[in-house]
Every structure is written in C-alpha cells, then in structure tokens.
C-alpha cells in the first residue's frame, strides 16, 4: 500500500549528523524506541532519550580523555548499541569514526589503526582488546583502548585500557563542571567536515581510506528515501558490519533522518533467527546473504515431505511465470493472477515467514553481483528485491531499481541528484552531492578516482534502452574469450552459486583457449547429501574429492553451460580442497573474490587446468582462525564437463 512519505528534512551545509541526532532525540524523547538489543531472550528497548544520554556521556568522556575535533576514533566489534553510541559520540565531539571489520586479522587492524592516526580504539570485548594490545606498540598515535563487554576483562590491568562505563562516568563529571558543553560541541560541527573514514576492502591492493562528510551521508540517505521512503515505525535489523558502507547507509543516513528503530541481534550467529522475529520492513544485504537464504530454501525443500514438495514446486513455477511477466512488464492473464494468489496463500506467505521477509517492503542487494537466478527467485516468491549500485566513494549508492521497473540483469536508474555516465572506455562514472572528498593520505589514488567532480568507478558497463545501468564487471576482471569476445566471470560465478551445493566459484578463461572453473563445495549441504547416500568422509578436503561429489557438481555446471554460447562454456573444473576465505586473503572482508591474488596463489591449478593432466598437486599453507599457518598437501582431480549441443 503506498503511503505518504514523511516530510523531508532540509539538508543544508550547516546540518551535521549530530545536529540531526539531537533534533530527533528532542522530537521522540522517551516516547519512541530508538534501538533494541536482544538480550536474555527479549528485545531490550532503548528510547531516544536513553540513546542521547549514553551518547552525551560517552562524547564528553572522550573529550575529557583528550579527543579533539578531527581526531580519528577506530572501532571494532559486532553490531551492538554501544558501537553505535561510540560512533555517534565521536561524531558529536567533531571526531571521525573509522570502523574495522570485526574479523580483521592483526595486520589489517594494525595497518588501518596506524594509517588513520586513530587516537582511540573502541573494541567490544576481550577479543578486540587483545588485538588492540598486540598492536599498540606499532601504533604510536594510539592513546586509549576502550571496551564495553566486561566478560573476561577482570585481569586486564594495562593503563591504556578503559571501560566505556568509566568513560561515561568521566563524561558525566565533565557535564557537571561544564553544563552545555555537549550542545556546544555539536553546534560547532559543519556539514563539510569529515565524519566517516571508510577503508575500502580493496580487491587488488592495500585498503584505501575514503573520506565522507556529513553532507555526503545525509544527502545519500535523503536521495535514497526519495525513491523508497521509510517510516518512523519501521524496524530495521543491523547485523552486517558497520565497516561496510551499506550498513552505515541504513543505520545512520536513513535511520537518523526518519528515526526508525534499529534492532541488534543477540549474537552474530543468531542474526538470521533474530531477523525472523523482528520482520524488518527494509533490508540491505550483500548477495551472499540472499544466496544463503535461497540455499536454505533449496535444501529444506529437498527434505520436505511429498505433498509439501509438490505444492512448493507448483507454487514456484507459478511464481517464476509471474516474475517473468513483471520483468517483461506484460499484463498477467486472469488465470495467472488467480494461480499466483493461490500460490501466495498456500506457499509463499509461509515461505516468506520462514525467511523473515513477511513484512518486507524493499529488499536491497548490493556490493557485488547477484545471479539472475537468485534475483528471479525472490521476485517469484513476491519479495520486492532491488539492486543497488554504488561505491563507498559515493556514500554507498548511486543507482537503484524503481518499484515496478525491476530488471534482473540491470541495477536500475540513478537516484535523484545523481548523474551517471559511461566514458568512452565503457567505464561507469557518476556525480552527486555524496561524492567523497578523497582518499586519506593518498593523493595519487584520489586524483585517479576523482576527476572534475566525477567519480571513476573502475567498473565497465552500459546504459540500456530503458535508461537502466547494466554493470558488466570490474574493468580489470573482464575476460576476453578465445574468440575475442568479452565476458564477465562474475556473471558465470553468480549463476553457478545458484546450486545449493556450490558455495564459491571462480571462473578462469581470460585470454585462454577455453573456460574453466574452480569450485568450493558447500560443506553443510554436500556433507548432508553425502551422509544421506552413505558416502563416508572425514573432512572438507576428502569430501570435495569424492567422485560422487564431482558427479553432483557437474550437473549445475552443465545447467549453466546450456544457456551460454559455446566459447563461454565451462570445459573443465576442479573442486578446491578448501573454502576460499578472507583470512587467507582470497576474499575481501565483504567476501568478494580477489582474483589477482587467487590466480597467483593457485597458479598450479590454473596451469594444470590447461594441460591434459587429470590430477593437480598442491603444496601450500592454510591459516587457521587463530592465525596459525600450517602447510598442507593436497591432490585434486580435474574433471571434464560433458559438452552437449545447444544454442
């Protein structure tokens, strides 16, 4: 049901996130819940007044500890209210917040903390404090490590440490001494000041720090909501890393402007279940989250009883017909309408309930390419899934699908106040009030990316006849096939991942005689599949090399091949003996494949795929989550994909 949008706030250069925060706190006070955290089985509410109180004392506490305007505060930890308070407190004091990925390894933490000149590091608990203590000697500018979860912290006596409670106590003391200081600090802010420093995950090189201003963030949120408004009574679940621009975009830019309730899951592991409880109206997640949902549905569907399976199959067929009808903007026939309504009642309503999507108004995916199969799946079950395209450098979003104008192979049209063009080299460039200031301490990279106010994305794409932007791939990732045509490996990989048994795929074929793939099986689903068939295995490497598993994996590959031109078809594949992992630097923290890196690391495999060999031997190392590195020897079978005739 279309609803009138909330009155838009006026965004001037004077406005900052903290000023808006104060305004919202005044508006809602004790009457509205700003955030909830699931603790001990219930969703503990935190009102806007509580939010203000916590941010104020934290902010003043940090000021008491010596935080000055423009100082950087690094933050690391799971999504939790304290994390957001610390960020907001930093902004209120005129500081710059720098979020790190929660699972970052020591070297990454050290690099970012040192590079951004952070004065404080705010960690969640013992794990983050340990990281902080380990790097403090190599980061001379770091003055304090703050923490909020006391679990395991009893015997930590290092003077650099301080609990957030203690900081808040200092803040309240300062408040008594200098009442009104907090409001003054907030008042001093200006929209053109930097508020967030984002380290881009970097598929190629060391992370670069993108500087975003208050104005960037506010404008982005406003322009997004001009397309898809949110409402104060909406619920949003914050569970993706704050170090990802997408999460900041929803929690901060949109959240503050409209004042919806942000919900924090109990633990990262319970996020999916907690989302189901909340039933958010808006969700923005990278494709892997949606891929996981599809995989869950596929696996559970295979295990369902006969009647349930048959009904589900029928409903999905109907749903796909309906979705294709919508994509092509055809008018559905009456019979299809009736069948769709029946399928909704019989299957989709419950299906969406299981996925936690029953109240969803807009679901967004962005940050990586999503396969058309996944995309169609969500539209078939009636979830309004849209692509978002953007970069951290443009505060997250520049292009978006509009309601009723969704095409699964495009990313939509630019949001208001945003211009998108294609250069002569097919590079996508954009311009908007949200384009960043530049990279921190990296003028060369800034000059390369930012030219005359235009942001050069490094992505190749084109604009189709409906004005939709089509993103082909990262320019440097595009493959040139044996017949000279350009092809996107991401597209192939995303399609392979529609199989519940394929977790990751890596397609190779740039300037090579034929196309091959390296597959990472999904340990959970393939493992279950093997158990049901009595195939014994003890570990991931062993399971991945089972001939039966190869037979299982070849099917989805042939399925994908069927729709491809012959030169783009996958001829050979190998099941990798391990899952690709961000800790091994094979993926970025947002789980994008670091192609150049894996090509170097697995060059033996690549070489073997283009010889007549049936086996490839690897002598390599793997890194455990605690940082230990152990050598590993593995033999992998190379399998040929049977080729059949087709188009």
């Amino acid at each position: 049901m279309p609803r009138d949008a909330e009155p838009e706030i006026e965004i001037t250069k004077e406005l900052t996130l903290p000023k808006l925060f104060l305004r919202m706190c005044k508006k809602f006070g004790h009457n509205k819940v700003a955030m909830r955290e699931k603790e001990y089985g219930i969703w503990k509410p935190i009102t806007w007044a509580d939010y203000l109180e916590n941010v104020k004392s934290l902010c003043l506490g940090m000021v008491a500890l010596g935080l000055k305007r423009g100082d950087k505060v690094a933050m690391i930890g799971d999504n939790r209210p304290e994390g957001l308070w610390a960020e907001m407190a930093t902004l209120c004091a005129g500081g710059v917040a720098v979020w790190l990925f929660q699972d970052s390894l020591l070297d990454e933490v050290q690099y970012i903390v040192d590079h951004c000149d952070a004065k404080f590091l705010v960690g969640e608990g013992q794990e983050e404090v340990d990281k902080g203590l380990a790097i403090k000697d190599r980061c001379p500018k770091l003055e304090r490590i703050l923490w909020d979860d006391p679990k395991g912290m009893r015997h930590y006596k290092d003077p650099i440490l301080m609990s957030l409670k203690e900081v808040q106590r200092l803040g309240r003391e300062l408040e008594k001494k200098q009442p009104g200081l907090f409001e003054e600090l907030v008042e001093q802010g200006h929209g053109d000041e930097v508020c967030l420093l984002f380290y881009t995950s970097g598929t190629t090189a060391l992370p670069k720090g993108a500087l975003l201003t208050h104005y960037n963030m506010l404008k982005m949120g406003q322009n997004l909501m001009r397309v898809d408004p949110c409402y104060p009574d909406d619920d949003f679940v914050s569970y993706l890393p704050f170090a990802w621009i997408g999460e900041q975009m929803m929690s901060i830019s949109v959240g503050l402007q409209v004042g919806f309730t942000i919900n924090f899951p109990e633990e990262p592991e319970t996020a999916q279940e907690n989302i189901r409880e909340i039933g958010p109206q808006t969700i923005f997640a990278p494709p892997r989250i949606y891929e996981q949902m599809v995989r869950t549905v596929q696996v559970k569907h295979l295990d369902a009883s006969w009647l349930k399976r048959k009904l589900h199959d029928w409903a999905m067929r109907t749903g796909y017909q309906w979705a294709d009808c919508m994509f092509e903007k055809r008018k559905p026939s009456t019979s299809l309408k009736v069948r769709r309504a029946l399928a909704e009642v019989l299957v989709f309503k419950k299906l969406k309930d299981h996925l936690g999507l029953s109240r969803i108004r807009h679901a967004y995916t962005g940050g990586a390419a999503m396969g058309p199969d996944h995309f169609r799946f969500f539209h078939a079950i009636g979830v309004n899934l849209k692509q978002i395209y953007g970069q951290t450098e443009i505060a997250g979003i520049s292009v978006l699908h509009r309601d009723g104008d969704v095409k699964f192979d495009t990313v939509g049209r630019p949001i208001p106040e945003t211009e998108v063009r294609i250069t002569e080299d097919d590079e996508i460039i954009s311009k908007s009030p949200s384009v960043f200031l530049g990279y921190y301490k990296n003028p060369e990279a800034t000059a390369k990316t930012l030219r005359d106010g235009w942001l050069y994305s490094g992505d190749t794409g084109f604009i189709d006849e409906d004005g939709h932007l089509v993103v082909f791939d990262r320019s440097k990732d595009i493959m040139i096939l044996s017949d000279g045509r350009k092809f996107s490996p991401q597209f192939l990989e995303a399609r392979l991942k529609f199989s519940p048994y394929v977790k990751e795929a890596w397609v190779i074929g740039h300037k090579l005689p034929y196309v091959t793939a390296v597959i990472c099986i999904d340990y959970a689903t393939v493992g279950k599949w093997a158990e049901e068939r009595g195939i014994p295995y003890t570990s991931y490497p062993e399971l991945s090399q089972k001939p039966q598993v190869y037979d299982l994996i070849v099917k989805p590959i042939m399925e994908v091949n069927r729709t491809l031109p012959p030169v783009a078809r996958i001829q050979k594949f190998v099941n990798l003996y391990k899952e690709l992992d961000a800790d091994d630097e094979e993926l970025t923290r947002t789980r994008k494949l670091r192609r150049a890196f894996v090509e170097e690391r697995y060059k033996d495999i690549v070489k073997a795929l283009y010889t007549d060999a049936d086996m490839v031997h690897m002598d390599t190392t793997i890194r455990y989550e605690d940082g230990r590195v152990v050598p590993i020897k593995a033999d992998m079978r190379i399998a040929r994909v049977p080729q059949e005739g087709g188009k």
Binding site: I42, I278, K308, R309, L311, L351
Partner: protein, 388 residues
C-alpha cells in the same frame, strides 16, 4: 518453545510469557470459549434430545479433567508417581458433604457451653445467612484434601519411584477402605452413602441445581485449575517441579528445596482432587466409598498417559479420549446387546479390558500421548512448506 510468526517480538518478559501471543491463537481460544460457554449449554434449545445428553457427557468430562489435573501435576510435572489420587478426591467430597450436612446444625449451637463451638456456630450462621456455606465447603474441601495429600506425600522426602507408588497405594487403602468406610461413613449413624439435597448447593443467590448450572460450575472449576496450573508452571514452583522431575539430585544441587517443593506439589494436587470430589458430590448429590475405588486412581493415570504426560492440554485430551471412547462403547454395545445379551452384563469388564488395551497401545505407538500428536499436527502447518 512455541512457534511465533515473523514480526512478533517481545520487549518485556511479561509478553514473552503470555499464554496466547498470536491473533490466530487468541481467535482460536475465543471460539473455544464461545463453544463452551454459549453453544454447548444451550444446545438443548435446538436439539432437545442431544443437548442434555452432550451436557451430561461434558459434566463427566469436566470431572475427569479436575481429577486428572492433580495427577498430571504430580506425575507429569513433579515426577512423583501417585496411584492413590481417589483418596484425595474422596476427602474433598466428604469434607464438603459434612459441611453441607452438619453446617446448619452447627450454626444452631449458639448456646453451647464450649466457647470454640460457640465461635464456630456464629461463623457458620454468618456464612449461612450470606449463602456462602457451599463455597466455604468447597474451600475447606480443597484445604482438607490438600493437607491429606501432603501427609501421604511425606514419604516422598525419603523414597522415590516404585516405593513411592507403594506408599500412595497404601494412602488409597488407608483413606477410603479404612478411614472413610469405617469411621467417616458412620457419622450421624447413617450407613455408607451420604446424600445432600440439591437446594443446599447455593452460592450466594444461585442454587446449583440444574444440569446447565452444574456444567457452568464445572467449567469455572476447570478454568480455575487450569489457570492455576499454568501460572504455577511459568513461575518458580513450576520450574522447581520440572527440575525435580528431570533430575532431583541436580535440582537439589542447584539449590531447589526438593522436600518443600515436592510437598507443595502434593498439596496443590490434593487440593485439585478435593475440588473434583466436591464436583462429584454436586452432580450426584450422593457419595459413598464405592465412588472412590482404587480403580479410579489408576484410571486417571491412564488419562494422563493417553493424553500426554507433562502437558496441560494432555490432561484435557486424555479426559476427552477416555470419556468419549467409553460413551462410544456404550453406544456400540447397546444395539448389539439384542444379539449378545451377555455384553450388557459384562460391560464393566469390557470397559476395563479396553482401558488396559488402550493404555498398552498408547505406550507402544504414541508414548508421548495425544498432546504430542496435536503438537506435531500444529508443527506440520507451522513448518509449511518445509519439514523442519
């Protein structure tokens, strides 16, 4: 854990522990209430034959639920197997009966030389003037049966399992065969059966004398018992009982005072039995030790075994199963008795044999009872379109 739809979440424990959380369940309970309060008792207005018959069955059903609730609490939640529950039902029935029979006489003894008797007489005359003699009898019946049950629950402090079963059986013989038959029944010089006239069952301005009123009284008592049980179970005593049931040594190690909580369970269960006894008296107007034979103690255990041990719904499902199957059996045997006259003579034996068979079959094929089957049925639809 009950299943909740997407988008239903709780900010406070009060909501988290609410009985009915979804609109669907609330609607279901509303329909059930309408059926039980309006449709069933007034069915005779449309179906003059069927209505009263169903109402009679409903009364038996309510009595079975009341009696089995205590058994469920002891066995299903506190793990104290009792095979003597008829004794407490009997104590309740006799207490209330004596109050109703001798209350008026006691109220008249205002000039007795004994000051205690005089005080009691004044109290009873006050109660009688207010029309509250029967309610007082109900309360006294509950208290007496509860305390009586505590006495026979005392051994549970020392013994458990098989030995406790023996002591509860002993409680049955001591109470009904010895105490009630030999002594209580002799009060007033009348032999065996006590009778109370319908007009004595007055609660304030209402006299519980018609089938419909008796039915409503039963509904109220069942409502009370179910509400009390459900509330106890979601508070400290209930958690303590379940801890004792699951592992008494672990419970004690956790700091649960197991003797106190066991005795509390016996008291509450006995009091519920006492209410069942009162209800029996109210719809029969007559009681005799034969109404509280050991067989009934066994029968109620059968009810909860079939319905589902450790489930309030189980008590209700089990009662429905037992009462309705027996009624169905009667309906089956009466037409057959033309051809096989001995069926009628041997009905009691057939009933007992079938009771045994039903329990055996349930233990083999549905050991978790009907409540589990119901839960599975709900799950089938809750998990739709998946199976887990």
């Amino acid at each position: 854990m009950s299943w909740l739809p997407c988008g239903l979440y709780h900010e406070h424990y009060r909501e988290d522990h609410a009985w009915w959380q979804t609109t669907f369940v609330k609607g279901k309970m509303l329909l059930l209430a309408i059926f039980a309060i309006v449709i069933l008792p007034y069915l005779d207005l449309v179906a003059p034959d069927l209505g009263p018959y169903l109402l009679n069955i409903a009364v038996i059903l309510l009595y079975t639920i009341l009696a089995a609730s205590g058994v469920q609490l002891l066995i299903g939640y506190c793990g104290q197997v009792t095979l003597g529950h008829a004794a407490y039902v009997a104590i309740g029935a006799y207490t209330c009966c004596l109050v109703l029979m001798h209350g008026p006489a006691l109220a008249a003894m205002t000039n007795d030389p004994n000051p205690i008797v005089r005080t009691l007489a004044a109290l009873f005359s006050l109660l009688m003037k207010a029309g509250l003699l029967y309610p007082a009898g109900i309360i006294l019946a509950g208290l007496a049966a509860g305390l009586w049950c505590v006495i026979f629950g005392l051994p549970s402090a020392k013994v458990k399992g098989f030995y406790l079963i023996m002591t509860t059986i002993a409680g049955q013989w001591i109470t009904v065969e010895f105490f009630i038959t030999q002594y209580v029944s002799q009060i007033g010089g009348r032999q065996q059966a006590f009778t109370v006239l319908p007009e004595h069952f007055t609660i304030g301005p209402f006299t519980i004398d018609s089938d419909r009123k008796i039915y409503y009284l039963g509904l109220a008592l069942v409502g009370l018992v179910v509400a009390v049980t459900a509330n106890l179970l979601r508070s400290k005593p209930g958690r303590a009982w379940i801890a004792i049931r699951d592992n008494d040594i672990a419970a004690e190690a956790m700091g649960v005072n197991i003797v106190a909580y066991k005795l509390l369970a016996f008291f509450v269960a006995g009091a519920m039995g006492g209410l069942a006894g009162v209800y029996w008296l109210n719809f029969n107007y007559i009681i005799s030790p034969e109404h509280f034979q050991w067989f009934w103690s066994l029968w109620w255990v059968g009810v909860i075994l079939i319905g589902g041990v450790g489930s309030i719904q189980g008590t209700i499902f089990g009662s429905m199963f037992m009462v309705l199957v027996m009624e169905g059996l009667k309906a089956l045997i009466v037409p057959l008795s033309g051809a096989f006259p001995e069926l009628l003579d041997k009905f009691l034996f057939i009933k007992e044999a079938l009771f045994g068979l039903a329990i055996a079959l349930f233990l083999i094929y549905e050991p978790n009872g009907l409540a589990y089957r119901w839960w599975q049925l709900k799950n089938y639809f809750n998990l739709w379109p998946f199976s887990y």
